[in-house]
């Protein structure tokens, strides 16, 4: 039995904000988040007819987003390695610094825990995003990540442990994380 036809416009209106939020915490910066979210829905618009209705639509969208994120990280990693080689080869070259407003946004991002999460392995990072940013259920996370439920729980546990270790190595503790302005600080005690 074929799934009912999808209203692409309506689905985009309904799910764009949540996909953008997930892209934001996944990518670690707002420019990549915009690109990721846009590309997710472009893929959706082009291939929505392939949706077979075995899962809910938003889990299917998260699956597209995670695949795109994985691909972008691989590309960035290769590009970074190439740039590193070029940088080391040309120490006298005049390398430009990022613009001032970009530096402000990056520091804003660095105030959040998600900046540390971005350094975790893919499996742990994605599990943490889906659970604590998107508030998805464990079964839904297993469906999106296409792994057993036990694996999801393991990744979440080890992801948080690794996150704590990263912060300890950086000399930070959760009690000393700078708070955002106007943020409720009760949970930080």
């Amino acid at each position: 039995m074929s799934p009912p036809p999808i209203n692409v416009k309506q689905a985009t209106n309904e799910h764009f904000a949540r996909i953008h939020r997930a892209a934001l915490v996944l990518s670690g910066n707002p420019w990549d988040a915009d690109d990721l979210a846009q590309e997710t829905f472009l893929v959706f618009a082009a291939q929505h007819h392939k949706f077979q209705g075995r899962s809910s639509l938003y889990t299917w969208l998260y699956g597209i987003l995670l695949n795109l994120d994985r691909r972008e990280r691989r590309k960035h990693s290769m590009r970074r390695n190439k740039l590193r080689v070029l940088w080391e080869d040309d120490p006298d070259k005049n390398h430009t610094a990022p613009a001032a407003e970009t530096a402000i946004e990056v520091s804003e991002w660095k105030k959040s825990l998600w900046a540390y999460v971005a350094k975790l392995p893919d499996g742990q990072r994605q599990a943490l995003v889906l659970r604590f940013s998107e508030s998805m259920r464990y079964e839904e996370i297993a469906e999106v990540l296409e792994c057993p439920l036990g694996t999801v729980k393991s990744r979440i546990f080890h992801g948080l442990v690794s996150l704590r270790r990263l912060m300890e190595n950086a000399g930070e503790s959760i009690k000393h994380i700078p708070m955002f302005p106007n943020q409720d600080q009760v949970h930080a005690i």
Partner: protein, 195 residues
Amino acid sequence: MPFSVHSHDDEWPDVEPFDDPISNLSDADIDEALLSDDLLEFAQQLSDDAAHLQACYPAERPSKIESAINEKPSEATKSPPKKKFRWAALAFGAGTACLLIAVSVIYYGAAPQRPDSPIANSDHAVEAGDSLAVHQVGVERYQTSTAAFEASISPQPIHENTPPTITEIGNATGPQLEALYDYLEDEDKVVRLSI
């Protein structure tokens, strides 16, 4: 998927929650079973940070998505053109392959046969050629094979007035001709040469 429960991590729970059936547990219960207090604190902080970042960087739908949504490609027309193209490409490839095979068969089938050795067309020529080949070595060798040469020149009965025939001598090499000449001179034979 099995994984080891023997960890060096001090925070590892005493029980094995990862393998427990969770059908009766809520997600919050699972979090509490899995995570210690400080890890739960991390989890809460992550949720709060995500909400804050979303407020800092709200989602704005770019125009590209709008135009992509409004295009509305027809589902019915998506796959058939691709299938037709595949069949057409397959038919073209098969036809080209058949044509090439046919051309090859015709070309190589109609090509004239490579001519054999000039003295291979007749029994006499073959036998004479063998003898001449021996004589290529030099005059000295022809003397040892003279008898074979005599026998090979003419398998037909030799009549007194019918000299033996050596055919295809036009392609003989210099040493061959020289050896033949010497033979003829020495043996005082009468032969008929056709060049």
